[in-house]
Amino acid sequence: MTIKLTRRLLLGATLALGFAGAALAEFPDRPVTLVIPFAAGGSTDVVGRIVADKMSAALGQQVIVQNVGGAGGSLGAGQVAKADPDGYTILMGTVATHALNPLILKQKPYDPVADFAPVSLLVLVPNVLAVNPELPVNNVQELIDLAKKEPLSYASSGNGTPLHLSGALFNSMAGIEITHIPYKGSGPALTDVLGNQVPIIFDNLPSTSGHLKSGKLKALGVTTAERAPSFPDIPAIAETLPGYETYSWNALFAPAGTPPEVVTKLNEAAKTAMADPDVIKQMDGFSTTIVASSPEELAEHVKAEMAKWEPVVREANVSLD
């Protein structure tokens, strides 16, 4: 029995190696699966689907989007970390999967650095601090002053998300304590702020931009160090609280051990996709900055992000089992 099994394993291994060799020669010779670690319809999903569509053209093979949502992105990321390192399974990583979750989770399902081969940092997504117009404040300083006088609450898309931590960082830098109200995703959080059930929200700029333009929400500041090009009238929070900076990002990762030639091919396809005029227009439309970096730059970026969030996570005292 044991012998048989071993023989079968050997045969399997030989076959696998054979296939791997073939794959190296002419990657990609079959469809590539892009795992999106969140449910369909969110901003990461939208970015992923746009990119997958254009990468399919660049690679000459279909890039199929698969949503593996759950556990704040950890499920999908963990699945890609364990996938065959052949470039046929890649991940749309985010600040959550590659900086926050590894810092927050007590049980770590994967190592964001050792388990992945970085491909390309695609986009940066600014977050925004917005309030219901009925809250009597017009800028960040007035909000801080009000928070010192009376108890306030802010809504976010969930516990341990970049938006929750943007608020936590804001609290700690301003020396105030606005109560965090987590929701299951950004949609319901936004609903309650529009209805003035909760007066303040930290959210992605793309999902709030429609409400900012119509005046249903009032933006106090963007979370990036500089003002966002799409909303030059909204000051950066850093103009009031120097050094304040948070943003969300999306980047492609392959499993660690993916051959460098394959990573290069994927990187080139991603760069081609992000240079497409349609993509530029779409990303611009929802206030997202295109980066399209090299694999090395993404590797540096992940390290920098982990270093930046580590003290915030520690100070906000967020930890999940």
Partner: protein
Amino acid sequence: MELLSNLGLGFSVAGSFANLAFCLIGAILGTLIGVLPGIGATATIAMLLPITFQLEPVSSLIMLAGIYYGAQYGGSTTAILINMPGESSSAVTAIDGYQMARKGRAGAALAICAIGSFFAGTVSTFLVAIFAPWLTEQALKFGAAEYFSLMVLGLVMSVVLAHGSIVKALAMVVLGLLLGVVGTDIYTGTPRFTMGITEYADGLNFVALAVGVFGIAEILRNLEDESETREVMTASVRNLWPTREDFRAMVGPVLRGTGIGSLLGILPGGGAILASFASYTMEKKISKNPQEFGKGAIAGVAGPESANNAGAQTSFIPLLTLGIPANPVMALMIGAMIIQGIVPGPSVVTDQPELFWGIIASMWIGNLMLVVLNLPLIGLWVKLLTVPYYILFPIIMAMCSIGVYSVASNTFDLYAVAFFGLLGYLMSKLRFEPAPLLLGFVLGPLLEENLRRAMILSRGDATTFVTRPISLTLLLMSLGVLVLVLLPAIRKGRDEVFVESEG
């Protein structure tokens, strides 16, 4: 008249040849995936999103919307024929619809569904057209405290759902609540009852639960006593059409279901499911023959089916007027809009009137197409019942597995189907009803989430539930329903005491 000119604009957009074609494609696709158990609109729309890149924004949204309400429609077909809710919102239809089918009245049940859905779809489409902005404002008044009180009302009403022992119904509600607790606590991030399985971190899958306790359990039961029940079903399916009495019996439930569905559909978070449960409860409560419910009552099919279709239409209101998704399908629609370069939000009505009114007009056209498509198909669907069970049941099981897996690509959902299939079989042996369990499962997590959110927002002051007028009204209504349910029980109790002392 502004409304007329707006509707005129809408129909001119939706009535173009290309848009009619996309509406038809959407409706047919939706019906198909609705009929296939487990394969939901969410998965289908997600898969079709890339195709819509190439289309005009209006055409792509018209097609996606068609898939959504087509699926609501088709979902009831399998619920009635094989007790397998194709969509979560048709779980209620399965209760009495399947019983009608067992009595050889599958054709009538399907026709009632089609006609009721069409009526509800028509009325609610006009509601969307006339009241959308105003209704949205009302929905925004629902904060955490109001949602909590609404869920309390829902839970109280769920006891009425049961036919038979109230104690057993309560036990099922509690079991549902407990199952609903599985997953990560959103306030502290602590995993609860996940047994260390990361795949359950976001809770158990509703579709897996519904397919298990209704569908798989039914298959197990059928395999046990195949010969007798199946013969009854196939022997007397000659009468495809509802009789005159059937029509008379469905008018009231359809009207009430449409009202309830339109209202609850606007509320974000499972409005359509809640609507069908609420309508069923109401019909049972006001019926002159409540004992018929669960044994094939026409009102038990017509009411919930109208309610869930009306809810499906009005759930477009928060999407179109605020850019806020009421459910996962609506979230996908927002994704589709963003990809098309339309920023969802209040400005869509004014900036893109042809999009807004075009979609609304297409919803009515789509509903008309569905009824025209489905009425002739009823004969075909009913023929499915004559397929030998040993061929039918493996196909059903395979379709279910594929469907459930497609929701989240999660193998653990399949283990859940198997487990809940066995649980459902056990429950039916012990005469426990699955419907209160499902309702507890849906409402429990919402109840807890909103209770805790309301308490955090009020800084621990529990009077928030009675000082807010909408919340207070809902709580008083729950109290009223409770009294109505308990009164007969108390009276009956006294009667029994009387009988015993006499004897």
